[in-house]
Amino acid sequence: MIEVEHLSKSFKVKKRDAGVGAALKSLINPQYTTVEALHDISFNIDEGEIVGYIGPNGAGKSTTIKIISGILVPDSGKCNILGHTPWKSRVNHVKNIGVVFGQRSQLWWDVPVMDSYNLLKDIYKITHKDFRNTLELLTDTLDLSTLLSMPVRQLSLGQRMRCEIAASLLHNPKILFLDEPTIGLDAVSKIAVRNFIKTINKEKKVTVILTTHDMNDIETLAERIILIGKGKILLDGTLTELKNRFATHKTVTVDFAENNAPISIEGTTILSRSDERISLSVALDKIKVSEVISRLSKQFEIIDVTVNSRPIEEIIVDLYKEYQI
C-alpha cells in the first residue's frame, strides 16, 4: 500500500554565529551547510497497519511524513502510495490521505468549527450524504457535539486537537498520517485520541502512521515501530521484538521486616538497600525472577514484592545510545 524506496532529502541551512559581527559577516558572505535530513529510507506498509514512527528530535520523522504526504519534494528516491507518487501527482494523492500536524492548525481561527468542516466538504467534493454520515460518526466517537458551533480560538488544546483529527478524516481517507497528535494533551484527551485511532483502524481499516515522543502512544497503538535516527532507519519491527531484545533486566523491589543482614545473589545487582527495603536489578539470562524472590524470602520476612519490567522509555533511550543518535 505504501512503498518507500531509497528516499533522500537534504536541506541547505544558513549558518552563522551569534552576535552583530557575525551577522554582518554573513550578510556579505553567507555560509551554508547541507543537512541530510533523510538518507536512503525504505519501508513498506500494508493496509490496516498502525505504524509508530519514532526517533529523537530532528531525526527526520516529520520530513518523511511531509514527503509521503506530497508537501516536500525529495532529492532522490521512489515512493508509491495507492498508485501515486506523492510529489508528482499531489492533487490525486492527497484525496486518499488525511494528515494531522500536532503543532499546526488547519481550522479557521475566527469562525466556528463547523464552518471549517463545510469548507473542507466542498474542497474534497464530499457528497452531502457521505458528509453527514462521517460527521455523525466522528461527532460520536470524538465527542464533538458541543464544540462544532464554537469559534476555534475559544477551544482548549485538547478540544481543538479532537476537532483537527476529525477534520482530516471528513473525506474518509484510506491512510492517516499523524505527526505528534498527542503533543501537549492532558491524560484524558490523550486516551480519547488513542481510543479513536484504534477504533477507526479497526472499523474502517484506515492505515495509520504516527510519529510521537510519547511511548504510551506507541505501546497502546502500534504493533510495528520504525526507529529513525539521523535520517536513517535503524530498526523496523514489532514492539514485542524490541522488548525481547532490550528488556534483559527486571527490577525486583522487596519490603521486609527490619533486617540488615548482607545479601548477594548471583546475577543481580543491588540498586538500593535500606533496613526495610531492597531493590535489585535482575539479569534475566542469568537468573529467574522467581528464584530471586525465593532466595530473598529465605533470608527476610517479606511484606511486599513488586516486579517491574523496564519501561519502554528506557529501552528507547538505550536504543538511542546504542545507535549514538
Binding site: S69, V94, I97, Q103, I123
Partner: protein, 267 residues
Amino acid sequence: MKAYVSLFKMRLLKGLQYRIAAFAGVSTQFFWGFMFIMIFEAFYSSTSNPQPISLTQLIQVVWLQQSFLVFIMLWFRDNELINLITSGNIAYELCRPTDLYRFWYAKLIAQRLSGALLRCFPIIIVATLLPKPYNFTLPPSFTAFILFLITLILGLTLIVTISMLIYISIFYTMSGTGSLLIFGVFGEFFSGLVIPVPLMPEILKKIVYLLPFRYTSDLPFRIYAGNIGLNEAIVSIGVQVVWILILLALGKLWMKKALRRVIVQGG
C-alpha cells in the same frame, strides 16, 4: 469550482465580522478624499491653463479611489497567506486536492471584495449627498457605466494577479515586508494614485501606459468620470486582458517552481 465559491463565502463572512474596522476605514477614506480634493482645488484655482482633466472629473476619480481603496491598493495584504508561508502552515494547504495558485487567487479576490463591499456603499452614498462641486455624480452615459464595471472587474483580476507575484516571492524572501513595500510604492505611483495620470508629464505618462498598474484603477475610474472615451476604453480592455494572461502564466509558472523548493518552516 464549488470549493472556490465556498472559500469565497468563508472569506466574505470573515471580512464582515469586522464592522468596526470597516467603519474606521470609511472615516479615514473621507478624510483622505477631502484632503485630495482640497489640494486639487487649490491647484486648479492657481492655474488658468486648461488641464487634461477637469476638476469635476477629478473629484469623481478621487471618490472612486476612496470607495474602492481595497480593490486597487497593492499594499492591501492578506496576512494569513503571508503567515502560512513563513510559519510553515502551508503544509496543510498542500494537503488539499486543489491547485494552490487558484486557491489563493480565490482567497485574495474574496478578501478584496469583502473589504470593498463594506466600504464602498457608505462612501458613495455620502459623497453623492455632498454640495456641488464636491459631490459624486452619475457617469456621463450608460455605456460609460457598463465599461466602468467591466474595467473595474478586470482591474480587480489584474491587481490580484500582480499581488500573487508578491506572495510567491515570500517563498524566497520569507518576509512580505520588502516585496510589499516595493510593489506597493511603485504600484501606487504608476497607477496614478499619488499624482493623477492625466496631470503627469508626457514622458512619465508614456511609461505609465507601458506598465500594468494603471489598468487596475486609473482606467476604470476615468471611464466613469468621462475622461476616457469609448474607443480608448475598448482598446484598454484588450490591454487589461493581455496583461492578466501574461501575469497569470508567469505567476503559475513561478508558483510551480517555488513549490518544488518549498521548505516547511518550523519543523
